[in-house]
Subunit: 339 residues, 2 copies
């Protein structure tokens, strides 16, 4: 039996997107008359028959997916989105982004805005302000898929999720410094109660305990996750009687501030070891190059895309009982800890 013609075949034949084919077949007005005619002729010629189950499921499908994220300016998120877009594009989907800028009010508005824009589903990562998540339920009420990535929330534990093992990330940066012979390891992180930052810090404590190193309270600083936070934290640490010989920055920007403060005290890494998180695109190229953690943004984007397709193509009722995907963080050891 010959393979059934799909809208993908029509798209390939005409060298247009699946989204355009879908819009033409569904008679949506943004398609030009000539494109619609070409699609209709090709559908007829290739003997295209809409699948009844599929078309009842996909009726009104726009092939637009909404992505709600804190900020596309944060490189980690930008990389996740790029990978997600690349993967879903080949299946005919377009992505619209909504940035919350870490505001809960804006996050609520974003959910409404994306639903109003008739997206087929939403892939989201929580703002720093979000404590309560009932606004996310609106997506499910409209019968549309919701996937949460990276920044998750305990109240959404039955929602399909893609994340990284953050406790492990904190553990491996600390373990790396211990393996390099650093003994007094400080940690400059954020005062916010966000789960991922808490988990990284717990990984730091676990590595120290495992190595039977004493926990020095003066070595844990909770400030802002910024260059200035790293700079000021390091100034504080350098005034201690027992100065640390290595400093972990809560992210690569904090690490930049640490390096600047060390420089002003005539210290260059790896004399004092410095390591960050997130592998920003400058980190490999500064002098000395910065050791950090690869948070697997590209893989995370791809896994979100695959999970989305799996949900939207499944006919089962248990589409929300999908196993979470948890990615492993990767150590990038560079000059700043290479002593």
């Amino acid at each position: 039996m010959a393979k059934k013609t799909t809208i993908y075949d029509i798209a390939r034949e005409l060298n247009i997107t699946v989204s355009t084919v879908s819009r033409a077949l569904n008679n949506i007005s943004t398609i030009s008359e000539s494109t619609r005619n070409a699609v209709m002729e090709t559908a007829k010629r290739l003997n295209y028959r809409p699948n009844k189950v599929a078309s009842s499921l996909t009726s009104g499908k726009t092939y637009i997916i909404g992505v709600l994220l804190p900020s596309a300016q944060i490189q980690f998120f930008a990389s996740v989105i790029h990978a997600l877009e690349k993967y879903l594009k080949s299946f005919g989907y377009s992505i619209l982004l909504y940035q919350t800028n870490e505001s809960l009010e804006s996050e609520k508005n974003g959910i409404s805005t994306l639903l109003e824009a008739q997206v087929d589903g939403i892939i989201a990562s929580m703002s720093l302000e979000t404590q309560e998540v009932s606004h996310f339920l609106k997506v499910k009420e409209e019968g549309k898929p919701l996937i949460i990535f990276d920044r998750t929330h305990d109240d959404l534990q039955h929602t399909p999720t893609v994340k990284i093992d953050d406790e492990q990330a904190g553990y491996i940066v600390t373990k790396h410094l211990l393996d390099k012979g650093y003994k007094n390891i400080a940690y400059i992180t954020t005062k916010h109660g966000i789960k991922i930052f808490k988990e990284r810090y717990e990984g730091y404590l676990r590595a120290l305990e495992e190595a039977k190193r004493p926990i020095n309270q003066a070595y844990s600083l909770f400030g802002e996750l910024t260059v200035e936070g790293g700079y000021e934290g390091t100034q504080t640490l350098l005034k201690l009687r027992d100065k640390p010989d290595a400093i972990i920055g809560g992210d690569d920007y904090v690490a930049l501030g640490i390096i600047r403060a060390l420089h002003e005290n005539k210290i260059t890494p790896p004399t004092v070891g410095v390591i960050g998180f997130a592998n920003q695109n400058f980190s490999e190229h500064i002098i000395p190059s910065l050791s950090t953690i690869d948070q697997q943004a590209i893989k995370m984007g791809k896994e979100c895309a695959k999970m989305f397709l799996k949900i939207i193509e499944s006919n089962t009722a248990d589409k929300n009982n999908i196993e979470p995907v948890i990615l492993e963080p990767l150590l990038l050891a560079r000059e700043s800890t290479d002593r």
Copy 2:
């Protein structure tokens, strides 16, 4: 006479967004029954009367604006968008982003996707691939405002535009190096024919001519606008018999590559002067800190927002004869050229 009640007053009274009020008054389905009732009661209590002219103009308004851009991962664009969002939010608008990833096909799809999502208008910056711009005309055909920012195109010269004076940017970085006493100034830029990069290079030539410096062809390198492009270009320049004593990078990433290549040859700026463009958020913090150009991203975002509001609120037929806004680039002189 008492001031007329507007939808802004209703929004303030109920502590909800203007967008929500508009949706409730227009009976759009994504609003909950209780919110709709609250809006209706408040509208009645405050004696709200829809302005007939305004409501014919705004009928079907979604208070969603589409922004089409090459990539939110490019920090300059991210900053423009943040400023734009911040400004338009106070007028009740939400922003949806579409990234073209420098692809013309994706740009065409983006215009369709945003129009299909029922945006009130589009604010756009061209992809590197875009030579022909007829797909932008679809926005005007639907009677919706279109604003072009930063990366413009000659065929859209009657479209409202916000940009920076790029020729001047190239001029002032070169002038700065000459003023610092550098004599042999090289320039590593992109081989692509994009207008803004061509104009910057023309500014470089103008500054050299004005200073009566000879133009040495070996000092102009056209490669990739990446760290690797800067690194390889510098390796080439250091093999010349007359080595340059200053190098301009086409952007701050190119400058990172230049600094790395100099470092491998035991040279640290400002011994050889290095300057970039775009003031990435690492540039101020690396050692030595990098001189560069502030492209006024925040001001550009704000000017786009103001222009959009001006167009959408104007009743005149000449809404496309709006004067372009051209911003001045600002020199940020730092350690890498401070000799």
